[in-house]
């Protein structure tokens, strides 16, 4: 399973930057208990990271055995729409029903700005990446091309040779989004919509303790399967992007397999700096959904 802590919960110092306003270090573990232990070790303020929060670190293992009685679980209607694989929907709804059997209260919630999340994410992330990756120019860092005739040639040849296709695509997209004349229409507007996405969550969390949803619209696809259609690939991020844009903690855990044996993920979100609640609910669900098990043979 994977836990993405609240933005600012874990220091980014030492983490090679991709999209600085979204990057956040989190545990990838076999069990929820392991995730809690690892988060315990890495969470907390760091004077070397100005965006790292000065919020006290609670005991993350304390809530793991608390159970689900009285927990209000929000089910966002915008996450169960056309494009969601029926097998994935069945597994996720099954997991949510089990939570209800254990005493959780299910509440339908709405996150109306969800359809904009992919666009906002790919503008924000690529813009930041285009700047963060600027330092790999062959002068100080990264691959250095041979035989460049001038400094400008050294920059462009090194970068052309050193970066892969997807990285170059993102640098170009981000550079475009920040260019003179486009900044207001793209980057600045993306920042504004990002605030609306965050407000969606704030409103939902007035009524529920956690939100449950599919982690991705389909089960895992084969490596390189979508290399020719990047846009299609970006769209598979649709369900994980919103909580990232809102800076909220999220956890994904296996909740079953498709007919052909590919794993399906269930994810949970909770308000900022409430990882102990997230881990508690995930821990209780893990008990009934069973441990992750061995990876399927892909």
């Amino acid at each position: 399973m994977g836990l993405k802590p609240t933005y600012g919960r874990v220091s980014r110092y030492g983490l090679v930057a991709y999209a600085s306003s979204l990057d956040q270090i989190g545990p990838l573990t076999r069990t929820v208990g392991d995730a809690a232990l690892l988060l315990q070790a890495i969470a907390g303020h760091d004077p070397l990271d100005s965006t790292c929060a000065e919020v006290a670190v609670p005991d993350y293992t304390a809530g793991l055995r608390e159970g689900l009685r009285g927990v209000r679980i929000g089910v966002p209607k915008e996450y169960f729409v056309a494009g969601l694989d029926p097998e994935v929907e069945r597994a996720v709804r099954g997991a949510v029903e089990k939570a209800a059997e254990l005493g959780a209260e299910l509440v339908e919630v709405s996150l109306p700005h969800t359809p904009y999340a992919v666009g906002v994410y790919y503008l924000t992330a690529t813009a930041e990446a285009s700047s963060n990756l600027g330092r790999y120019d062959g002068v100080h860092y990264g691959h250095r091309a041979e035989g460049a005739a001038s400094i400008v040639d050294l920059f462009s040849q090194s970068r052309r040779e050193g970066f892969g296709e997807e990285v170059k695509r993102r640098i170009m997209l981000g550079t475009y989004a920040l260019s003179a004349g486009y900044y207001d229409a793209y980057y600045l507007r993306a920042l504004r919509v990002r605030r609306l996405i965050k407000q969606d969550f704030d409103r939902a969390f007035e009524r529920v303790d956690v939100i449950a949803a599919p982690t991705a619209p389909t089960a895992a696809f084969a490596l390189g399967a979508m290399a020719d259609d990047p846009l299609e690939m970006y769209l598979t991020d649709i369900y994980t992007i919103s909580c990232n844009l809102a800076g909220l903690p999220g956890i994904s855990l296996p909740c079953g397999l498709t007919g052909d044996g590919r794993p399906v993920g269930l994810q949970l979100f909770s308000p900022a700096f409430s990882e102990e609640r997230l881990l508690g609910v995930a821990g209780a669900l893990e008990g009934v959904l069973g441990p992750a098990g061995a990876p399927p043979n892909l």
């Binding site: 980014r12 110092y13 030492g14 983490l15 090679v16 930057a17 999209a19 600085s20 306003s21 004077p47 070397l48 990271d49 100005s50 965006t51 813009a127 930041e128 285009s130 700047s131 600027g134 330092r135 120019d137 002068v139 100080h140 860092y141 400094i151 400008v152 920059f155 550079t175 920040l178 260019s179 003179a180 900044y183 980057y187």
Partner: protein, 479 residues
């Protein structure tokens, strides 16, 4: 063609903080290359900036001293461009919410007229490193020194309010004076801690629209700035006269050839793609912060100049010169507080003290004579113990020996001769030796007296009391 100059400045000042703006590295000038660096200012992958609070305080101090509006919230932006002296290939600067906007500097021109130069904005940013070009003949490489990378800079951007080189010159002096008063920078142009970039355009007099502006870099002294303005004004005027269009571009000042040359546009035609730096959080500027910084500001040069003229009854000229440098003004005030004689103190500072500093390339802080001793020297003059002329000699001896003026006067027998019998002997001697002059003066030729006084001063080694000498001559020859 009757044209007029339109000029604006971008001023970069290195702040005299002990450490860099986003890391703890020292900012000392002149260290061996790449010895004042760390992962943060080297821009290593994975590092993050942490803002130096002192740099913020200095930025606010500057903004307040120049009368800028200070926002409740200031933010940092990334300015993206590729250059080998910039390890991250972006500079952390301020584009959208700087520490100060608006504001103005009042300058006083030589004919006494005042002019307001408007400030567009003041922002805080990190300096870049330096490229050292190889001294190996034929080398096609340069090396990079990153000691300066991350040194805090304030950039002050003026409106295009200058119309003459004189205005530019007075402004540069005034700006340096203000920045030194508020103690944010040592303002050493030769070390690059104060740099002026000029934006110059020329238009037909009477036109209201601004022409394309030419930005000029690499100006490392006030003299260079002025030469460059004159050159660029002529160059653009000639272009207009020939009916050519002036290109909007960046040019470099070539010191050897004494002209500006175009930078290669391929390398420097930039779209900086500013966006808010996600690694830094907004700086919230509270009313208390603003008040605390405002309270820490000293009296600035312009009000101090007015006060010197009024409080000490000094001529405008004296007040202006004494207040250019805060340490000089402090020195003057301390000496006057002790001896109570403003004009004599002003005279000796403006002539002898400043000349000494100038001749030896010293700052006021390095002047070896304390204000208390200078006051004592003025005291001796006022009591008639020594003459003005002897005072200059005594001051020189004070600088050389560090001794107090009274001791020098006594040891070297420089006390003014005010003793009538002693002086009468000298006067008689000189009259006898200069009988012709004496006869002329007796016959009514006033001019002849000067020669006699000069001879008497010479014979007394400058010690004769001039008033008494005059009286004795009259008594002898016209009595």
């Amino acid at each position: 063609m009757d044209t007029e100059l339109i000029l604006g400045f971008e001023i970069h000042t290195e702040l005299k903080t002990a450490s860099k703006i986003f890391c703890g590295c020292p900012t000392v000038f002149g260290a061996p290359p790449n010895t004042q660096v760390c992962p943060v200012c080297l821009g290593l992958p994975g590092v993050l900036p942490v803002l130096n609070e002192r740099a913020v305080e200095f930025a606010l101090r500057t903004a307040l001293a120049l009368g800028c509006d200070i926002p409740g919230r200031a933010t940092f932006d990334r300015k993206n461009y590729h250059y080998p002296d910039l390890p991250k290939n972006y500079q952390i600067s301020q584009n959208y919410h700087p520490f100060g906007t608006g504001g103005a500097v009042e300058i006083t021109l030589r004919d006494g007229t005042a002019k307001r130069i408007r400030i567009n904005n003041i922002h805080l940013e990190e300096d870049a490193g330096k490229l050292l070009h190889s001294e190996v003949p034929g080398a096609d490489w340069s090396v990079v020194d990153l000691n300066r990378a991350g040194v805090p800079l304030i950039e002050i951007v003026t409106e295009p309010d200058f119309r003459t080189p004189e205005e530019a010159q007075v402004f540069m002096q005034t700006m340096r004076s203000i920045l030194r008063y508020i103690d944010v920078s040592d303002c050493k142009m030769q070390e690059g801690s104060l740099r002026f970039e000029a934006n110059i355009s020329v238009r037909r007099r009477g036109d209201t629209a601004l022409g394309p502006k030419v930005e000029i870099k690499n100006l490392n002294s006030t003299k260079t700035v002025l030469r460059c303005i004159e050159h660029e004004f002529e160059r653009q005027t000639e272009m207009l006269e020939r009916g050519e269009r002036v290109a909007q571009e960046t040019r470099l000042w070539d010191e050897v050839r004494g002209c500006t040359v175009a930078m290669r546009s391929k390398e420097f035609a930039n779209d900086y793609r500013y966006f808010p730096d996600p690694d830094l959080v907004p700086v919230l500027i509270t009313a208390e912060m603003r008040e605390r910084v405002a309270a820490s500001l000293p009296e600035l040069p312009a009000p101090r100049r007015r006060r010197f003229a009024e409080e000490f009854g000094l001529p405008e000229y004296d007040a202006a010169i004494l207040t250019v440098d805060r340490a000089v003004a402090d020195y003057f005030e301390e000496a006057v507080r002790i001896c109570g004689k403003a004009k004599p103190v002003s005279n000796i500072i403006m002539t002898d003290v400043l000349a000494h500093l100038n001749d030896h390339g010293l700052d006021m802080e390095d002047f070896p004579v304390p204000a208390r001793s200078l006051a004592a020297l003025i005291g001796l003059m006022e009591e008639g113990v020594i003459s003005t002329k002897i005072a200059k000699t005594v001051l020189r001896r004070m600088i050389e020996t560090g001794k107090e003026p009274r001791q020098i006067v006594e040891e070297e027998g420089l006390i003014q001769i005010s003793d009538t019998p002693a002086l009468e002997a000298i006067v008689d001697q000189v009259i006898a030796a200069n009988a012709a002059a004496a006869e002329e003066y007796r016959a009514g030729k006033d001019k002849a007296k000067g020669r006699l006084v000069g001879e008497i001063m010479k014979a007394s080694r400058g010690k004769a009391n001039p008033a008494l000498v005059n009286e004795l001559i009259d008594r002898r020859l016209r009595g």
